[in-house]
Point group: C2
Chain length 374, copies 2
C-alpha cells in the first residue's frame, strides 16, 4: 500500500492507494472516530461495491447504511439531487450526528455530490472519500472541492470541505468502461504537463499496461497491471497533494490545476455535460491552451506536438466537430475563476511548467477553438 500525506495543518489527511483496500474501510473509519457511516453512491456503483463497503464498515463496529443510490451520470450532479440526499440523511433513524461519517463511493459525481452533502449536513460531517474511477482517484477525491453543477455552468455551486481520509482500491477500477479509464488518463497528462515531465514519460511507456483489456471488449473487466496503476495514481495524487497543500483555497498555484479546464469547461457546457466526458473535454482544452501558448511563443511547437501525440495514443480526442467560438467565449466569461470579468488561463511554458495569464483575448480563444473544432 502507498500512502500520500496531504499537508493542511490541522486538516491534514492521508490518501491510501493499493489493491483490496475496500475490505479494510472500517479500519480507517474507526481511526477517524466515527460511530456511524453512510455510503453515497450512484445506480452503477451501488450494486457493484455498496454492500462490500457497508459490510467492511459494519465489521469494524460502525452502524453503516447506504443512502438511496442516485441515477448515474453528470446530470445527477445538481442541487436537487443534493437536496434529496440531505432529506435521506436528515430523516434517517437512528439520527445522524457529528459522529456520522459520509463515504462517497464512486466516480467524480459521487465524490463531489457526497462531499457537498457532507459539507452542508449539520454544517459539516466528516468524509472518507472512496473513489472508484481513475479520474476521481487522481483529481476530485483529493483537495476538498465539492459541489454541483448549475444550468449556467459546471461546479458553480459548492463548498471547500476536506476529507478526513481517501481510500483508493485499484481493484474497483477494473469494472470501469475503457473510455472512462482514458478519461482519467487525460487528467494524468495534465499533472505531467504542469509539474513533472518524468510522469509524462511514465505514461508514454506504460500506456499499454494501463489500457490492457487482454483482448476483451469495452464491457469486460479491465486487466491493467495493478502495480503500474497504483504507481500512476500515487504519483498523480502526490502532485495534486503538493499543489493543494501550497494553496488550499485557490488563491495562487492551485490555479495551475486548471490547465486545460478553462476552455475545457466551456466546451462541456456548450456541447452538454452528458455528451462529452470530462477527460475528453480537458484533452481538447489542453490542446487549445497549447495552441495559445504556442502562438504567444511560450511553448515550442515540438512540445505541443508531443502532448497532442500522447493524448492521441491514449485515444483521447485532440480535435472535435466545429464549435461556436463566440458561445465558448461567452461561457468563459461566466467561469467562476473569472475576476472582474477577465478571463484567466493556465498556459505551459515548458513541459512540467505553467503560468497563469489573465490577459487572454477573445481573438486568441477564437483561434484556439477553431484549431480544435474542425
Amino acid at each position: 500500500m502507498k500512502k500520500i500525506r496531504v499537508e493542511l495543518g490541522s486538516r491534514s489527511y492521508d490518501v491510501c492507494v493499493g489493491a483490496g483496500l475496500l475490505g479494510q474501510l472500517g479500519k480507517w473509519a474507526s481511526e477517524i472516530g466515527a460511530s456511524q457511516a453512510v455510503v453515497i453512491s450512484d445506480s452503477n456503483v451501488a450494486p457493484l461495491y455498496g454492500r462490500a463497503a457497508t459490510d467492511a464498515l459494519a465489521a469494524a463496529g460502525l452502524k453503516a447504511w447506504q443512502a438511496k443510490p442516485f441515477p448515474a451520470g453528470e446530470p445527477s450532479k445538481t442541487l436537487a439531487t443534493a437536496s434529496t440526499l440531505l432529506d435521506d440523511l436528515l430523516t434517517h433513524s437512528p439520527a445522524i450526528d457529528r459522529g456520522t461519517l459520509v463515504v462517497p463511493l464512486g466516480g467524480g459525481v459521487a465524490g463531489d455530490l457526497g462531499g457537498f452533502v457532507a459539507a452542508l449536513a449539520l454544517r459539516g460531517l466528516r468524509v472518507l472519500q472512496c473513489p472508484t474511477s481513475l479520474l476521481a482517484c487522481v483529481d476530485s477525491s483529493v483537495g476538498g472541492k465539492t459541489g454541483v453543477d448549475h444550468q449556467a455552468g459546471k461546479n458553480l455551486i459548492g463548498a471547500f470541505h476536506q476529507p478526513s481520509c481517501v481510500v483508493i482500491d485499484v481493484e474497483t477500477l477494473r469494472t470501469l468502461p475503457l473510455a472512462e479509464l482514458r478519461n482519467g488518463l487525460g487528467e494524468c497528462v495534465k499533472h505531467a504537463v504542469i509539474r513533472d515531465e518524468s510522469l509524462l514519460e511514465f505514461i508514454e511507456a506504460g500506456a499499454e499496461k494501463l489500457l490492457a483489456t487482454d483482448g476483451r471488449g469495452d464491457d469486460e473487466k479491465l486487466s491493467f497491471d495493478a502495480e503500474t496503476m497504483a504507481r500512476l495514481i500515487a504519483r498523480n495524487v502526490a502532485i495534486k497533494a503538493a499543489v493543494v497543500s501550497a494553496d488550499e483555497r485557490e488563491a495562487g498555484v492551485r490555479g495551475h490545476l486548471n490547465f486545460g479546464h478553462t476552455i475545457g469547461h466551456a466546451i462541456e457546457t456548450f456541447v452538454g455535460y452528458d455528451n462529452i466526458r470530462h477527460g475528453e473535454a480537458v484533452s481538447l482544452g489542453m490542446v487549445a491552451a497549447n495552441h495559445i501558448a504556442k502562438a504567444r511563443g511560450l511553448l515550442k511547437s515540438s512540445q505541443a506536438r508531443r502532448i497532442t501525440k500522447i493524448l492521441a495514443k491514449l485515444q483521447l480526442p485532440t480535435t472535435t466537430s466545429p464549435l461556436d467560438a463566440e458561445s465558448i467565449w461567452q461561457i468563459m466569461q461566466h467561469d467562476k475563476k473569472a475576476l472582474h470579468g477577465k478571463v484567466r488561463m493556465v498556459l505551459p511554458t515548458d513541459i512540467g511548467k505553467v503560468d497563469i495569464y489573465d490577459d487572454i483575448t477573445q481573438a486568441e480563444v477564437a483561434q484556439a477553438v477553431e484549431a480544435v473544432g474542425k
Copy 2:
C-alpha cells in the same frame, strides 16, 4: 461609530455600529475591493431599505442590484429559497464573479440565507452583513454561521462562512415591531448570563429606554434612545466576537452560545417555526436550562429567579402552554450538536459563567419542560 474587531487571523473583520451607516455602505464595499454587489432581502425589508442600500453602493462606483426579495418569515429559510436565489445570482447579467459582494440586508433569515447563498455561489463570494433586526445584530450576523432549516430541524443544512464586514445602522431598527425588539433582547440576556453580569445590570437599567415607543402602538416607529441601543449592540457583539475568535468552529467555548438553545430549538421545532419567535423560544429554553442547573445545585434559586424576572420585564415568555416532553426529547436527539446520540446542554453555574454538560438525562429534560409548559 463603534467598531468591534472579530479576530480570526487572515479572516478577521470589523463590526461597525452607529446611526446612519446605511448611507455609507459603499465605503466598506470599496474597502473590501468589490466591483459588483447584490443585495439580498425579504419582502418586508426590500421596500424599506433596499433602494438606500443599492444607492449607497452605486455611489461608490459599484454595479449594485437587488435580488428578487423572498417572502418574509422563517418558512422562507429553506434550501428551495436558497436555490431560487442561486438561480438569480448565477444567471444575472453581467455575470457575477469572485469580485462580487453579497449584502444580506435584514433580519436573521436574510443573514443566514444570504450568507449561505454567498458560501455556495462560485464556492464562496465575500459577504457584507447588514443586519436590521436586533437579534441579527447581536447574534447571527457575527460568527459566520450560515444555513437553512429542514423539516427535521432548524439550521440542519449550512456552512461556516465568515463575512468580510458587518455594518449595523441602528436607525434601521426603528421600523421593527416591538415584539421583534424584545426577541433580540432575549439573546442579549443570554450573552449576559454566559459572560457578563454587568451587561445584565445594563439591560435591567436600560429596559425602558430600549423598549420606548413614546406611547405609540406596536406598528409605529420605535423611539428607543439611539446611543443606548448602539451601546447595547456593541457590548453584545464584543461578547459574541470574543467567543467566536476563541473557537470559530464550535469545538469548545463557542458551545456556550447555545445556552437556552438546546431546549429552545426543540420547542421551536415542536410548535412550528412560524408560531414562535426565536427569542421567545430561547427565553423559554433559558428558563428550562436554569431549572436543570438549579436541580443539579449549580445555580442558586435566587439567580434563576433574577433571570426569569428580567425576561418577564422584557415581556419575553417564561412559561407557555403544555409541551409534550417525549417529543421535545426526541427532537433534541436530532440536534446537530448531539454527538454519538448524547444530548449536550449549556448550564449556568453563576451569572456570567456557564459550562457544557453532556450527561443530560431524559428525566431532567422532562422535568424542565414540565416546569416551563404549564
